[in-house]
Symmetry: C2
Subunit: 114 residues, 2 copies
């Protein structure tokens, strides 16, 4: 299992709409996330930054994300949410959300020290 943390900025004045949309994400969008082997996904707000955390249980994250990006309900959902967001300077070329690097895990350290 791989822990993934991502960040993006919410555009000024768009937070209320972003929160409203996320009070009820379409079921097919949730299903597509799940079928891409993603679990325990949550999004948090700090200042104007959205912080996403999820756990990836597959063996080809790029392919699983591509499957989401080819899914009609997901594309309709992103057409609503993308305009509310603005990539951070840390985002790589072609990245929307910028991806962080894990530098510590409680569970991994406990296993190493056993």
């Amino acid at each position: 299992m791989r822990r993934v943390v991502q960040e993006i900025r919410v555009r000024p004045g768009q937070l209320d709409e972003y929160r409203r949309l996320h009070q009820r994400v379409p079921g097919p969008v949730l299903d597509r996330i799940r079928r891409s082997h993603i679990a325990n996904y949550s999004i948090h707000l700090l200042g104007d930054r959205l912080i996403g955390y999820f756990e990836y249980h597959g063996d080809d994250l790029a392919a699983d994300l591509a499957a989401m990006a080819a899914d009609e309900p997901t594309l309709r959902w992103w057409a609503l949410t993308d305009p509310l967001q603005e990539p951070l300077p840390e985002a790589g070329a072609g990245e929307h959300w910028a991806t962080a690097r894990q530098i510590f895990s409680l569970e991994e350290q406990e296993q190493e020290q056993q």
Copy 2:
């Protein structure tokens, strides 16, 4: 279970030392985190920001954090790590790490939509 996301800045030039320290966190510090009903704790780096994620399984987070702050091995650990960090503007009065607010959870939405 409550998901907690926190952020803090790593001071310029201190990242290598922060990473080195976190390659082997003292066992008593890990134990004290665990006894404070915290699980699945990981720290990630994006730009100069450290992003922490953990899951809290107790019923009094303030008391459980206070127990950590009264623990000798934890205080010795923080004496090493605190000088490497700088609170973000979003940190509240008396906060070291700034705490984000959850605005979406895959699992909670799936339950609500069942």
